[in-house]
């Protein structure tokens, strides 16, 4: 079967071919052609071509290694994105061999009139009525010339292993050696208008109405959200037009419908005919109208309803096109972040102590609703905008074709983030203390002597008596008030100066990493400016503006994903400040026990409000449980020896584990320890320079911890399943950030010499 005949099937001849060989999309198009619908000319590159490419280029074992090195089910979507990126990079750096390339050239040559092509995925199983989702694989529009076709084919092939496909295949992953992808290569039909149409309203499978959407120009403009479409509801039985909603393509809504009644009826007729042909209600893409109607593709309508408990659909919604990203960039940076910042500062400035109980209750409610408002925006806008970094990554790799698929991360270095500014202030103060030994000695003494009832006010007063002590006190207090007014692990960091001070005193010391200094830095080590030049040179003058904009948005997106966390944590801190004050009053009046009052959290907001408003409201049953340390039951004869994760920052280092799960752990963190946490958050990055190495449960090359570790040159392995549970404090570990391996125990491993 491995011949050029088995690699290529023209769409006109494809109706007799097994869909397992050409994929469902091609099979559907072939049936449409046979039934007399007008479909753009083209051909299909069969699954045999894919399999030949994989075999010839040795890609099978590479995919296997990516998919099976760690259980897919333990990977978050960020890790799956990384896996997909690396596989895509391997596909793009592999060449289509001469025979296959020649077969594609011959097939394309049979359509001499084609100036531009559309290259679409056609995986077996894709676009079938059994699948409840669409858009897992890639389609590329506007492909010109053989070289671009070859390039597009490799991208579409790689999308068999896209993050979305992996996400939906987590429970039953495809077999890397058996799975295959066919590709449809069609002439691009440049008619107008274009649009999509659903034989039934996709939100309601029992609906009596079909839906038609149309835009002037290409269908891709509608699918990518570039142009707002006109929209019609058409009764399925009578064909009567029940509703027209004009699109807004200029300053105002259009005044005349884009499609005539005749064109709408032709579309409705096609929908009915396709439904009867396939036996399922179709979702079609079309172009041209009335007698010139061309069907671009037809697939079963996927259910509009998604399980709210299934986060996969939400993740897929985070993949944004350039236009949406552009709009979000403007909205987020020009409106949202300044508003969020202003809200935080306003709340910080409010004096709460002079409020009576009723006013305090009102204030708490207001703060709670402000926080909830921003949490919603965080989810709806800030998290989606983080796709800007991933978009930059894809664009950089497609344009530059680097050996290292993460080379683009170097472009994100040195962004002026709020957390970096805070860390810089802390570091400067640490350096200042080093040059003032009298202050340093006094601070160390205070920390050593500190007991539970240590009074910081007194400590400040006596430090202020020292030469230059007042300067320190002023700077330290400003740091606490401005930069540490954030919540981490449900505690306000500024409420515990001693923890911040412990970190500060250690920051002045150099960190020694006992292993790994001899190893070279891998990958491209050019400066930010050199990387920029690489990108712009590869983009060329024609796409320079596009490259600049994508880089700009990527950087904004990267900066924002750090800043937004801190700014929301500041709002949380301001709510907690008000809650604490309320709790203090309730404790003072004897209504609230000290045990509960000291542990007031955001989740008891309504209880505090009720108690402040109503002197008879009970304060005894607030849901404040002790945080228990969750450790899995350890089998007495079982222990981990080597854990596998992602190599997130190069280098290798050993040290004792220090787990950071809450604000208390931040204060406990000692220089030279290996930082083990669920995920490094911007609220805790000030302790990162103290770490000799980093281990995180959350995986991904683009998460906070990975990028900070790379900037600070700290070896980091992330994506270690249950890292915080599996590792114990003070346990000795070696972190290999080149290979993504964490080895437990000292390097000098005991051998079984028969003693037991």
């Amino acid at each position: 079967m491995d011949t050029d005949r088995s690699w290529i099937v023209t769409l006109a001849d494809a109706d007799a071919v097994d869909p397992a060989f050409i994929g469902n999309k091609a099979a559907n198009l072939a049936r449409l052609i046979q039934a007399g619908h007008h479909v753009p000319d083209g051909f299909c590159l069969t699954t045999a071509a894919y399999q030949r490419f994989i075999r010839e280029q040795g890609l099978g074992p590479i995919i296997q290694m990516e998919l099976r090195r760690k259980p897919l089910a333990t990977m978050r979507w960020e890790e799956l994105w990384d896996v997909a990126l690396r596989i895509r990079s391997a596909f793009l750096s592999a060449e289509i061999d001469d025979d296959l390339s020649h077969a594609i050239e011959v097939a394309a040559g049979k359509f001499p009139g084609a100036r531009s092509w559309v290259v679409r995925s056609s995986a077996p199983g894709e676009d079938s009525s059994l699948r409840s989702f669409a858009g897992l694989h890639e389609s590329i529009v506007g492909v010109c010339g053989l070289e671009e076709i070859r390039d597009a084919v490799r991208k579409v092939w790689a999308s068999l292993w896209s993050d979305a496909a992996l996400l939906y295949g987590q429970e039953s992953p495809l077999d890397p050696l058996q799975s295959a992808m066919a590709v449809v290569i069609q002439e691009r039909v440049e008619a107008t208008p274009s649009g999509v149409a659903f034989a039934r309203d996709p939100r309601d499978q029992r609906s009596s109405y079909a839906i038609v959407e149309a835009v002037p120009g290409y269908c891709s403009d509608l699918v990518d959200g570039v142009v707002d479409p006109d929209r019609w509801l058409i009764h399925r039985e009578s064909g009567a037009i029940a509703q027209w909603k004009p699109g807004k393509r200029g300053q105002a809504e259009e005044t005349a419908p884009l499609l005539s009644e005749q064109a709408l009826h032709a579309l409705q007729k096609s929908l009915t005919s396709i439904e009867s042909l396939f036996g399922w209600a179709p979702d079609i893409e079309w172009t041209g109208c009335a007698n010139e109607l061309t069907i671009l593709q037809a697939r079963p309508i996927t259910s509009g309803k998604t399980d709210p408990a299934d986060p996969r659909a939400w993740y897929l919604s985070l993949k944004l096109g350039p236009n949406v990203l552009r709009r979000l960039a403007t909205l987020v940076t020009e409106t949202r972040i300044p508003q969020l910042q202003a809200d935080g500062e306003r709340l910080m400035d409010e004096v709460l102590e002079s409020l009576d109980d009723q006013e305090l209750a009102d204030t708490i409610e207001t703060r709670s609703s402000i926080l909830n408002h921003w949490k919603k925006i965080y989810r709806d806008e800030f998290i989606p905008f983080a796709d800007g970094v991933r978009h930059l990554g894809r664009y950089y790799n497609d344009t530059v074709r680097p050996d290292d698929p993460y080379e683009f991360v170097g472009l994100l270095k040195g962004q002026p983030m709020l957390a970096s500014q805070r860390n810089h202030k802390l570091r400067s103060l640490a350096d200042w203390v080093k040059t003032h030994p009298e202050v340093e000695t006094a601070l160390k003494r205070y920390l050593a002597e500190r007991s539970a009832d240590f009074d910081w006010t007194q400590a400040y007063q006596s430090i202020a008596q020292l030469s230059a002590g007042a300067e320190f006190v002023e700077q330290f207090k400003a740091l606490l008030a401005k930069d540490m007014d954030i919540v981490f692990g449900e505690e306000r960091l500024g409420d515990h100066p001693e923890r911040v001070l412990r970190t500060l005193l250690q920051l002045g010391q150099p960190v020694s990493r006992d292993v790994g200094n001899d190893y070279p830095v891998q990958g491209y080590t050019g400066s930010v400016a050199e990387l920029e030049k690489r990108l712009f040179d590869a983009a060329g003058s024609e796409k320079l503006q596009e490259a600049r904009e994508i880089l700009h948005i990527g950087r904004l997106s990267w900066k924002l994903r750090d800043d937004d966390n801190l700014l929301v944590a500041r709002l949380e801190s301001q709510l907690l400040r008000a809650l604490r004050l309320g709790a203090q009053r309730l404790m003072a009046s004897g209504r609230l026990s000290e045990k509960v009052g000291e542990r007031v959290r955001e989740k008891v907001t309504s209880r505090v409000v009720d108690a402040l408003r109503d002197p008879n409201a009970p304060c005894s049953d607030w849901p404040i449980e002790e945080t228990s340390e969750e450790r899995p039951p350890l089998q007495s004869r079982e222990s981990a020896r080597q854990l596998i994760g992602q190599p997130a920052a190069p280098g290798v280092a050993s040290g004792p584990v220090c787990r950071v799960r809450n604000a208390l752990d931040l204060g406990r963190f000692r220089q030279g320890s290996v930082l083990v946490c669920d995920a490094i958050q911007p609220m805790m990055t000030h302790i990162v320079p103290l770490a000799t190495a980093i281990i995180e449960r959350r995986g991904g090359m683009l998460i906070h911890g990975a990028i900070i570790a790379r900037e600070l040159r700290i070896p980091c392995v992330n994506g270690i399943d249950r890292a915080v549970e599996v590792l114990s404090d003070d346990e000795w570990v070696t972190v290999d950030g080149y290979l993504g391996i964490v080895t437990l125990g000292h390097a000098d491993f005991d051998l079984e010499t028969g003693s037991n």
């Binding site: 040795g58 890609l59 074992p61 190893y519 080597q642 190599p647 190069p650 290999d736 290979l739 390097a747």
Partner: protein, 176 residues
């Protein structure tokens, strides 16, 4: 004769003249060993330390003249430490999975020899290329600075089949 080339290699089987097997024949001992090494991608590496043997599965590549093979390991592993402490090792390559139902058809070759860490340089690059050519998924792993490549200079090959039939073949010697 072998003692001449490897004076401290203990004799583990009845000595046969080096290169004495019918190397030119398609079904000769050398050809069968070569086929096994070229077909089976993985081997069991046997190391030792403080009198304690230790075994590890490794992906390997062998030279075409069967005088050497190479494998890789992270430097943080037990086998790495044992290899740096003692270079006498054995490597077992076999085809058990192909003959689960018939023990007599299982072929195994036990290679003994000396392992040496390959420093950066042309020899390491050649072996790295050979390993990646055979195991494409190892490309990133082998390129990592914390991955060590070892070359095993093979002293002798003990080929076993038909349950207990054992032949020895010496890859380097006057007959080779």
């Amino acid at each position: 004769m072998t003692g001449h080339h490897f004076p401290d290699e203990p004799l583990l089987a009845t000595e046969i003249e080096p290169g004495h097997s019918s190397t030119d024949e398609p079904n000769g001992l050398e050809a069968r060993i070569r086929l096994l090494l070229n077909t089976e991608p993985f081997a069991v590496l046997c190391t030792q330390g403080q009198g304690q043997p230790y075994g590890s599965v490794v992906a390997f590549a062998a030279s075409s003249d069967l005088t050497a093979l190479a494998f890789s390991t992270p430097v943080t592993t037990r086998k790495y430490r044992l290899l740096t402490e003692g270079d006498r090792i054995a490597v077992v390559v076999d085809n058990r999975p192909r003959h689960r139902e018939d023990m007599t058809q299982v072929e195994a070759v036990t290679l003994t020899g000396r392992a040496r860490l390959l420093p950066q340089g042309p020899e390491r690059e050649q072996w790295a290329a050979a390993l990646v050519s055979r195991h494409a998924y190892l490309k990133t792993f082998i390129a990592a600075p914390t991955t060590a490549l070892f070359c095993v200079d093979i002293v002798r090959c003990l080929y076993v089949t038909r349950f207990q039939e054992v032949h020895q073949w010496i890859p380097t010697g006057p007959g080779s």
